[in-house]
Each structure stands twice: as C-alpha cells, then as structure tokens.
C-alpha cells in the first residue's frame, strides 16, 4: 500500500512535470501589451489565515472593475512551491501570486515574472511608499518584479509571570546582549523545567538578527560570497551556542527538536523567545497567554538590528491578462488594499502609514516595537537559488548547536559549501 502511494506519487509528479515542461516556457509580453480588459484572473496564496482578507480585497477590486472577477486560490504552504514551479513550467500558473524572499531569485532569474513599472503614469509600485528593504528584496538586476504586500520584523517576546516570579525587571529598549545573558541565567529554573531564553537553529527569528547585531554578514552585497568565515558573523552564532552550552540558559537542541521554541514559550517553559511579528496574532488568540506575555525590542549587540522580510505580489510572465494583473497588484498595494489587510490583523501591511490598525487590533501588546524595528531593519539575505544554501546552512549549523562539531569546523565547511553553490549560480 505504501509502496504504491510513494513511488506512484513520485512518478506521477515526474510525469506531469515532464508533460508540462514540453509545452515550452512562456513568452514575456512587453509592458505595452495590456491584454483583455475583462475576464477572470487567478490569485495564488498559501496562508489560510489570510484568506478572508485576500477574498475581501479581491471583492473590493471586482467592485471597481465591472466584468472582472478574481479567483483566490489557496494552496497549503507545504505544496505551494512545488505546485507553483510545475504550473510555471506548464504555463498555467496563477496570473498573480504570492512570492517570498528565498524563492524570488529563482523566479526572477528564470524569466517567470513580469516587470512592474515603478515610475510614470502606469507605475504599479511606488518605491517611496514602502520600506526600502522590501522594495529592494523584490528587485532583480535593477528591475522591480514584486510589489511589497506585508512584512514581518523580529522582537523579544517574554513571559511576565516568569519574570515576576524570578524578580527580574521586564526587558526594554536599553537591553544589551549582556543583559540578555545575565537575565536568561537568572530566569532559568531547571527544577521547574523553565529556561531563560530559547536558542533554536532558526534563521529569521534568531541568527539572522544576531549576526548583523554583532557586525557580521551572511551574504555579500553582490550575492557572490558567503559571510560565514567572518569572525563577527561567528560571534552572532556563538551567542546562541553559548546560551545552551556555556550559560546553560536555553534548552538543548535535542529538547528544542522535541518541542519547538514557540511551543515551549506558549507552554510557559521559556521566559523569553525571539519571534516574528506574525506570531503576535497566535499569542493573542490564546486568552490565557494574552494576559501573560509582552514584547520588547531585540537586545543590542555592537549595533541594533532586526531582520525584515515580507511577501510580495508578483505577476506571472505567462499571464493572458498582463494589464489586469498589474492593476490588481497595484490595488493590493494601495492604501485601500493595505487597510483591508491591516483590519484582519494577521500580517503587517507593507505600505507606509497603514500599519497602525494592525497594532491597534491587539491593544495590550506593545506592537509599536515591531513597527519601529523597520527603522533599524536589515534586509533578508537571498541569492538566486537561496533554497540550496539555506538548507546546507541549517544542516551544518545544527552540528555546532548540538556540540557535535566546533563552530570553527562548521564555519569552514559551511563557507566552502555556500561559496560553491553561489559560484554555480553565477555560472548558470
């Protein structure tokens, strides 16, 4: 039974992809061709929690464009990218779909996306209306391909109850790494199974923040070189490894494998955790947790930093409705489209000046922290084929986290592997 489902699934996937691939890659229409003015455009998304907001925004767009319908298609995150890649090869991808940083390079470099105008009367994206890191994230070799939809920043979430019990002052903007270490140790209470802070191998939440805070870097600006040999980058990693092995203020990697850091925090076993802004809604949804937790800026290293990442709406190069698709993207990034998102409270809309309703939806959390982080934000590190090296990154770094290999050894093998993969991108 298992045999059939497995090989069968794998084989059919191969089969359909191959059939699809035979149809040839889609042509890239120039910006002049606008296509039909009415019809049905499809919009591919992956987050079920954001579906109501997306549907509402689509309805609003339909209202202003008679004869146009928008079909919002939900594909669960687990299969979104596999399905999208297959659909793109076959010329049947949605006209407009969600894009993220790690996948953007692959689609832009392979001509799967339509360029979006940034100036003139037809401008789809107004670069000045969004945080610059987000606009930059979806620019490829000088051309804009994505309109920022939302963003997330990282902040320190803490459990007030555990702080009060240990008699530690709540964290605030003045905290440095040293404060984090000292207080995490004070908050650790092994008898109760409580730890000061979670140190999982998480990129966006953890080391993509501590690396720039230490003055290090993950990938060079030209996206050709790995930063994992820089001693300051290693300092950013060492903070977490020491938190487990030297200060003993975090659960081990094994414990965090069994129960992930966010779950532990929700269960009251972690006093502090680094979390993305989208988890605010998750914590808010639990009434008991809602009263117990608070949020503060990330502790400073050599400098203050929080990594920013966000999704974008992009237009498929093979769309039959290039004009309509662009209009829809423009609408989604407009003030009106952004405010519909903000009201639903799951993601922070990317457009400047539309974020406040998101924070107001959860009044007892000091969500200004997440919004202010934009001012000292650092861009999310990507390249053409980000997935290839970010996989290696997680795999190798976890060896240093578990203590099976020294950080110096891991740094050597990771730098080598990442540089090789980046060189392959350059050659391709």
């Amino acid at each position: 039974m298992r045999r059939r489902s497995l090989l069968g699934a794998a084989a059919t996937t191969f089969g359909t992809t191959a059939l699809a691939a035979g149809c040839g890659s889609p042509s890239t229409p120039s910006s002049v061709a606008a296509g039909p003015r009415r019809g049905k455009i499809t919009y591919g998304v992956w987050d079920v929690y954001q579906l109501p907001a997306m549907k509402k925004a689509a309805k609003e767009f339909e209202r202003t464009r008679p004869g146009v319908t928008v079909d919002v298609q939900l594909t669960p995150n687990a299969t979104y990218w596999t399905k999208l890649r297959t659909a793109c090869s076959g010329g049947s991808a949605p006209d407009v779909f969600w894009m993220n940083g790690p996948n953007f390079g692959l689609y832009a470099a392979n001509g799967q996306l339509l360029p979006l105008e940034t100036e003139g009367p037809d401008a789809v994206v107004d670069p000045a209306a969004f945080p610059s890191d987000l606009v930059e994230l979806y620019r490829w070799q000088g051309t804009q391909y994505g309109a920022p939809k939302d963003f997330d920043t990282v902040a320190l979430w803490f459990n007030k109850e555990l702080f009060d019990r240990a008699g530690v002052d709540h964290p605030d903007g003045s905290w440095t790494w040293q404060d984090l270490i000292n207080n995490a140790q004070r908050l650790t209470d092994r008898r109760r199974g409580v730890y000061g802070v979670g140190a999982p191998v998480r990129a966006q939440e953890n080391y993509y923040n501590s690396i720039p805070q230490a003055g290090g870097w993950v990938i060079s600006q030209d996206r050709r070189e790995s930063g994992y040999a820089d001693p300051r980058t290693l300092e950013g990693l060492k903070l977490w490894i020491d938190m487990i092995h030297r200060y003993r203020a975090s659960p081990t990697l094994q414990q965090l494998t069994d129960t992930d850091a966010t779950q532990m925090f929700q269960a009251g076993k972690l006093a502090m955790t680094y979390e993305c802004s989208y988890n605010a809604a998750t914590f808010w949804a639990d009434p008991a947790l809602r009263r117990k937790v608070g949020v503060a800026p990330l502790p400073k290293g050599r400098r203050r930093a929080s990594v920013i990442h966000g999704l974008a709406n992009v237009v498929y190069a093979g769309t039959r409705y290039p004009g309509l698709a662009r209009e829809f993207v423009r609408f989604m990034s407009s003030r009106k489209g952004a405010l519909i998102q903000a009201e639903h409270g799951t993601a922070i809309p990317a457009r400047n000046g539309t974020q406040q309703p998101w924070a107001d939806a959860m009044p007892t959390f000091d969500l200004k922290v997440h919004l202010d982080a934009v001012e000292y934000a650092v861009p999310y590190p990507i390249s053409t084929n980000t997935a290839a090296w970010s996989h290696k990154e997680l795999q190798l770094l976890s060896r240093a986290w578990s203590g099976n290999e020294s950080l110096a050894d891991v740094s050597r093998s990771l730098t080598g592997a990442m540089n090789r993969l980046l060189a392959q991108e350059g050659a391709a």
């Binding site: 045999r3 794998a10 691939a21 191998v201 414990q255 996989h391 976890s398």
Partner: protein, 333 residues
C-alpha cells in the same frame, strides 16, 4: 478457466448431453464452439483489463521510463533538460549523504525484518485452540496497519518526547533516565524501527495466521502419534509448511521498508519548523527522504531521479537475491 469447466462435462463421461451419447460430428461441432469461446473470451479478457492496464502504462510505466531518462539529464528549475550522461551518477557515488541515507534505509529494513519472528509468535498464539478473544486481539494488532503513517508519526513523536513523553515518564517510574529518542543520533534508528515494527507486525501476523490455518490438522496428529512434542511439531511441521508465507512476508517487508518515507520524515520533525536541524537527522534520513529533499526543495530533480533509480536497482537486486536463496529454505508442500 471457465471454458474448461464448462466443456469438461460435455466431452467427458459425466451427464450425457444427448440421449444415446455424443456422436463424432456432434463432438467436432462442440470443439469448434469451444475454440470460438476461447477466442472470444481472450478478447473479452483483454478488453476488461484494458482500463486498468492503460492506467498502469500511463501513470506507472511511462513515468518510470521518463524518470530513468531524466536521471541522465540536468533539469532546470522550470523545465528544460540537457543530456549530461552519467554525470548525476558520478556525483551520487561521491556524495556522502547518499551513502549515509542508503545505510540508514538498510539498517531500518534489517530492524523491521526482526518483526517477522514477533508476528510469527503472535500468529501461533492466536491460532492456539482454546484461545479466547482472538477476534479482539486480531483487531488490536491490525489497527496500526490501517492507521495513516502520518497520524502514527505524530502520536509517536509525542510518546518519544524527551521531557514530557509518556515513555520517559514510565521509564523514570522504574528509575531509568530516558533519552531524547528522536533527536539522539545513537538511538534514533532503533526508535523509528520500533514504530516500523509496530506498524507492520499486524499485517504480517494476519498473513501468517492464514498460512497456519492452511496446514491440515492430520500432520499434527501424525506427528504426535510419532511422539513429537509441541516444539518438535513447530519446527518439523509448522515451519516447513509455513515457509512460503514467511518468504512472501520477508520479500514484501524488504520492499516496503526500503521505501519508507512519511513515517520517518514526520517522526524526525522534518515537516515542522524543526526541519533538518534535528541533531539526529543525518542518522535518521532514509534514501527516499533524500530523494524528496533533492527533487522538491533543492531544485535538483534530475539528481533526485538518479537517486530513485539507484533505489530501484537495489530493491530489484535484493528481491532477486531473496528468490535465489529461497530454494534453500522454502518448501512448497
């Protein structure tokens, strides 16, 4: 078959078709009709298996051939292949991850095979005369077989949890310090294999039970008249007569275990935010998990195709080997 049974009474000596027996011309006419039946039945047969056969060809055989072809190419992320000959296989041979995960799959298979004696004992126990509630036990042992591997994995991940898992709670009541079962590189293979055995024991048990019930009682009576005790009866009567079923379960277990994917993938937490950061990931990762990673996450589909082709050959070789070795121990009574 149906033709034969239909024809036999006519040509044979049982109920005479016509008064006074069949004459020679009659018989010739009958033979002719018989041939026509055979001919027509043949086409009916083909017609009836055509839908399934077509599906098999389109959805199984053709993709298999395509996969083989793609394993010799380089496949761009959005289609477009270039022939690169044996390059993927050359990379594969020098890829330590491939060897490691092949080893993991083989170890898992060997450990799951240890479940066959367990199934055997259970089958024999359930076949004992005077055993009560056999229906209940059969259901209990068979339940894991009909449970989704994904659900099984989620539940076992909790049972194995190092801090709050029920397994470690039970062990600590006995004064034993449990470990982190699914993230300790030293024990992870045994932990997942235990679940694998638990999942397959019921299936093998039912097969063996059917085999046991096919053994005529006379043999046991004869054996006991000859003075053979229970144990002797088991090894001299039960084992040889059950060997074809045992052979079947072994072949099937090897094929299925080498292809294990979802169960281990989810027990390791690879589908969650934990992903590949499980410290025991490289000791747990099976060859099909590696294929999945390469093909669908690392954008190396052709390389993934090469990996499954290697698995295909390995399974074929192991199965052929088993068929060759069966002559030494399987008795077809």
């Amino acid at each position: 078959m149906s033709v034969e049974t239909e024809a036999r009474p006519v040509t044979g000596d049982a109920p005479p078709p016509a008064r006074g027996g069949a004459t020679a011309p009659d018989q010739r006419a009958l033979r002719k009709r018989e041939r026509r039946f055979l001919y027509r039945d043949k086409w009916w047969g083909y017609a009836l298996i055509a839908p399934a056969g077509l599906g098999l060809a389109v959805f199984y055989l053709w993709p298999v051939l395509q996969t083989l072809y793609y394993s010799f190419t380089e496949w761009g992320p959005f289609g477009g292949t270039t022939w690169i000959g044996l390059e993927n296989y050359r990379t594969l041979v020098h890829d330590p991850e491939v060897w490691q995960s092949l080893l993991n799959s083989l170890v898992y298979t060997a450990l799951v095979l240890l479940g066959i004696p367990v199934s055997m004992v259970l089958a024999v126990l359930l076949n004992l005369k005077g055993m009560r509630c056999t229906g209940l036990y059969r259901t209990l042992y068979f339940l894991p077989v009909v449970t989704m591997p994904a659900a099984v994995a989620v539940v076992w991940r909790w049972l194995y949890n190092g801090d709050v898992g029920i397994l470690n709670q039970a062990l600590s009541a006995l004064g034993i310090d449990g470990t982190y079962w699914v993230s300790d590189p030293g024990v992870v293979r045994f932990a997942v294999a235990a679940v694998g055995v638990w999942m397959t024991v019921g299936y093998n048990m039912i097969l063996l039970l059917a085999g046991l019930q096919g053994i005529p009682q006379d043999y046991y009576e004869a054996a006991s008249l000859d003075g053979a005790g229970r144990v002797r009866q088991f090894f001299s009567v039960t084992m040889p007569l059950l060997s074809p079923t045992l052979f079947f379960t072994t072949v099937l277990s090897v094929i299925q275990s080498l292809q294990v994917f979802d169960l281990i993938y989810m027990i390791l937490g690879a589908n969650t935010s934990v992903g590949v950061t499980n410290p025991a990931y490289s000791e747990g990762q099976t060859i099909v998990m590696l294929f999945f990673q390469k093909s669908f996450f690392d954008n190396q589909r052709a390389y993934g195709a090469a990996i499954v082709c290697v698995l295909f050959v390995l399974i074929m070789a192991l199965t052929a080997l088993q068929f060759r070795l069966q002559k030494r121990w399987v008795h077809y009574g």
